[in-house]
Symmetry: C2
Subunit: 295 residues, 2 copies
């Protein structure tokens, strides 16, 4: 696939995701809640998770309508986690996606409620009255809930909080990142895959691909935090060092962290081949983008 | 049904709910997160919502296993909302169910994460690998998500926040309470009903019953806030007046608020009769308990 071929595909898919978010995140929720929700999720972000959902769905000839709902649901969970994570009692950040964070703009109480409502909305989006068969709705809800909850994202955040100022072994760091960031990225791939037909082998391959890409994403995040300025990142740079948080850069050093990201990219590619998914070029390009990104 | 007949039934059902919560809310979630979650949901609360789920399920001869999952899921949503609601940026309360609130005990960041993880866990509990047919799983997820989200509980909380110090009309107050407390209580009844077979008429009747009981609950809550001491409530009394919040007592006065609670109880009973659910004695007793409770 040429770079422009991927670019055209991703632009079309992203336009669909933006339109769906715009339609499904309500402006008219009471007392400004909808405005805070929309502020937290519209017009920003790389939308990597939705693209992983849609590319995985296409790799297994899945149902596009269900995958679009899954893509929006995953992005809602990701966006809510950022809204809560930025709050003063957590990372206390004032800049996100190049804008003031939700609590800066709407106040802490509204930010907490907006995040809570975004999580609920993710499961609303996955359970429409028609258009997606109920068994698939249930499967998507289950995959998303497990990735978002105590064993996944929320659990990873708890480890993150408890690790401030404490050295972590490489294994413990990997465990934290697999949960905190990796679980939802892996779930994105699996939710896309659930929209189509998979064999045990191709499901496992997509699971391995998702795990490798998920971890690579966080390794690169750790690298960008020390190598890029805030303007490029759209969020405050240098937060990890400032917050005294263990990262792949603090544990491995910058060069070994870079090498590790490339190794994970290769693992992701190999997983696709193992699963007979050599034709899943968009997933391959997405793995490249995760490692090569500069913001 | 005799009072002791209901008492025996509710004790048995509550024991099942407590055992299920104890089993499904993990102690071993990372970095103390599981302990905060368990602290927030175990050993406390009246468990009115689970009882409504289970009584509604029995009224329509529904599947007990699915209803138990629904009961636990609804209680997890309720408990997470209390954890977040008690935080300093919201109601800033230090006492709940007779104990220090979760953020007092575990810190604000862990309290926020525990609430987030409890919401996700509710949807995990509704989507087991087996034991509940997938179409019912999807239906339960959809009912719960809509009741918890922007159009329901979270939306009601946003109105609540925006109403501090402002007079509300009776209609606006009713709208706020229907969302903030009523939506989840009504969903409890409907999730129980979804576990069995209903006609259009009996579904509508249970929906009306749930709406009336849900609103009655909040009217009584407003009354108890001014008539009972903190020790009886297990939470700080007088918070509404202190927080300058519109309530049924401030809008209607104490006597008319009491009358309104009784009117809603009668509406709930009539709804059951309209739906041909005269035999649903446990639902009838639960409506009585909601109005007669003293804490």
């Amino acid at each position: 696939m040429t770079a422009s071929g991927f670019g055209d595909w991703s632009r079309r898919r992203l336009a669909e995701v933006e339109a769906a978010l715009d339609e499904w995140v309500p402006a008219d929720a009471p007392a400004g809640l909808g405005l805070a929700m929309r502020y937290g999720v519209l017009d920003g972000g790389k939308r990597l998770r939705p693209l992983l959902v849609l590319a995985a769905c296409e790799a297994v000839d899945g149902r596009a309508g269900a995958a679009l709902r899954a893509a929006v649901a995953v992005e809602l969970i990701h966006a809510y986690s950022l809204v809560h994570d930025d709050m003063p009692c957590m990372d206390n950040d004032v800049l996100r996606r190049g804008k003031p964070t939700v609590h800066v703009e709407f106040g802490q109480a509204q930010a907490m409620l907006a995040g809570d409502a975004m999580q609920a909305l993710a499961f609303e989006v996955l359970t429409p009255a028609d258009g997606v068969e109920p068994a698939l709705q249930a499967r998507l809800c289950g995959l998303l809930a497990r990735a978002a909850g105590h064993a996944g994202m929320a659990g990873g955040q708890a480890i993150d909080l408890a690790s401030i100022g404490r050295p972590l072994s490489e294994d413990a760091l990997r465990d934290m990142h697999r949960r905190k960031t990796g679980a939802l990225l892996q779930a994105s791939v699996l939710m896309g895959a659930a929209c189509g037909r998979t064999t045990t082998a191709s499901w496992q391959a997509l699971s391995d691909y998702g795990a490798a890409v998920g971890l690579a994403f966080q390794v690169v995040d750790d690298i960008l935090d020390v190598t890029q300025p805030s303007e490029t990142l759209g969020k405050t740079a240098g937060k990890d060092v400032q917050g005294n948080k263990p990262t792949y850069v603090s544990v491995l050093g910058l060069e070994r962290a870079r090498d590790y990201a490339l190794t994970l990219r290769d693992e992701a590619r190999q997983a696709l081949r193992r699963g007979g998914l050599d034709g899943a070029v968009r997933l391959e390009v997405l793995a490249d983008k995760v490692v090569e990104r500069e913001s």
